[in-house]
């Protein structure tokens, strides 16, 4: 655990994050379900940052191999998630309602 963030504070962060996540999308229209799923898929691509830290601390070849794979997959999550979401939301620019492929 990092200095300055004890277990109890972390529980508060968990709780408030859960409430924020719930509130943020509580009124989403059906047409945005899939793009939003894709968008949140991109957001948990932040795992790449954790993977970088894990690989940075690695000291044995086994740890380096596991960490390398972790960063590789995490970067794939972030970049792929962004591009796919971007492409889905692209369809909302030209015309709003008549293109409904984004919803399915």
């Amino acid at each position: 655990m990092i200095e300055g963030m004890t277990g109890v504070i972390a529980i508060y962060v968990f709780m408030l994050s859960a409430v924020a996540g719930y509130e943020v999308i509580s009124r989403v229209p059906v047409i945005l379900h899939t793009p939003l799923m894709s968008g949140s898929n991109f957001v948990h691509g932040i795992v790449v940052v954790g993977a970088m830290a894990a690989l940075g601390m690695a000291q044995t070849p086994l740890e380096q191999a596991l960490g390398f794979l972790a960063v590789l997959l995490g970067a794939g999550n972030a970049v792929g998630g962004y591009v796919v979401t971007e492409r889905m939301l692209e369809m909302f620019k030209t015309s709003d309602k008549d293109k409904k492929q984004g919803a399915k």
Binding site: A10, T34, N41, M52, L66, G74, A75, V84
Partner: protein
């Protein structure tokens, strides 16, 4: 410098929440993904200056992994047809889950190595003072368990995140294969539901074993069991229900990432992961409702009921 890094993580977490908020409305959705993208770049760049990253080799490995993983994902995401998007979301989600599982594997391997070193040192001291051979001394010392070494809270969240991330990984791969038409089977063995239950119990027991053990190989079995759970639970689910399942797996990956944030002491991971976990759970519920099916129906209707469809 550490303050700048911490503030970068704070900014990233804020941008993620605002970005998701914007993505929930058609008028602002495109802005939302760009904000979230800016947050991701800020967090990634800041991490390069993290003092925990040591050694030139590790820096080179990080850059190499980001370049390869990023380039591969960029090319595949640009190339894929618009109609094939759901399975691409599934596979990228699976990558995130796999990454969370691997972070847990690194933490557990590190704890195990440190325990081994402690045991070696103690055994050497015992061997010297009692004039014993080294292997006899090794049997006398007890360096303790992984759970005690990592700290009970950290170890539990590391193991939970490992299970959830690994299940999300293998489950997403199956979801992708089904939607992409590469997998037609709905059944792997007879008595599917019993195998599922047995695998789930085995995963929990192996997790407990890892917690109380100091040796390495239960860790390996633990990951194999979690991997199989993801495969066996996802296989019976039909293609039409897959988007709901992908959304659920997406929420699970979020949770796993949040738990990894606790293990690594990174608040940006906790906030982004748990926000996605909660939003994903709600979204899964909304998607199931839009299809007029309860989520339990989606997950368990295939159990043992349908014969091979292909």
């Amino acid at each position: 410098m550490t303050l700048v890094i911490q503030f970068s993580y704070f900014a990233a977490a804020l941008l993620f929440i605002l970005g998701l908020k914007a993505m929930a409305s058609p008028l602002t959705a495109r802005k939302g993904i760009i904000w979230a993208g800016v947050g991701m770049v800020i967090a990634t760049v800041a991490t390069f200056f993290e003092p925990v990253i040591v050694g030139t080799t590790n820096y080179v490995l990080i850059l190499l992994a980001i370049a390869i993983g990023g380039a591969f994902a960029y090319v595949t995401a640009k190339k894929v047809a618009m109609t094939d998007m759901p399975q691409m979301v599934a596979i990228y989600n699976g990558l995130g889950g796999g990454s969370a599982g691997l972070i847990a594997a690194v933490s557990l391997a590190k704890a195990q190595r440190e325990l081994h070193t402690v045991a070696q040192d103690e055994a050497a001291a015992v061997a010297a003072s009692h004039n014993l051979p080294m292997d006899a001394a090794l049997r006398l010392v007890d360096a303790g368990s992984i759970g005690a070494w990592m700290g009970i809270d950290v170890a539990i969240l590391a193991l939970l995140g490992a299970v959830i991330g690994t299940v999300a990984f293998s489950g997403s791969v199956i979801a992708w294969a089904k939607l992409d038409g590469r997998m037609k089977r709905n059944k792997l063995v007879s008595g599917h539901q019993w195998v599922n239950i047995a695998l789930a119990i085995a995963t929990v027991l192996l997790g407990i074993w890892v917690f109380f053990a100091g040796t390495g190989w239960p860790i390996f079995l633990f990951f194999v069991a979690a991997f199989l759970v993801g495969i066996f639970v996802t296989t019976p689910i039909g293609g039409a229900d897959m988007p709901v399942v992908i959304s659920l797996l997406n929420a699970l990956t979020g949770l796993a990432v949040g738990f990894k944030g606790y293990v690594l002491g990174n608040p940006a991971l906790i906030i982004a992961g748990i926000v996605v976990g909660a939003a994903g759970m709600l979204l899964t519920h909304l998607m199931a409702k839009a299809m007029n099916r309860p989520i339990t129906n989606v997950l368990f209707s295939g159990f043992g009921a349908s014969p091979d469809a292909g």
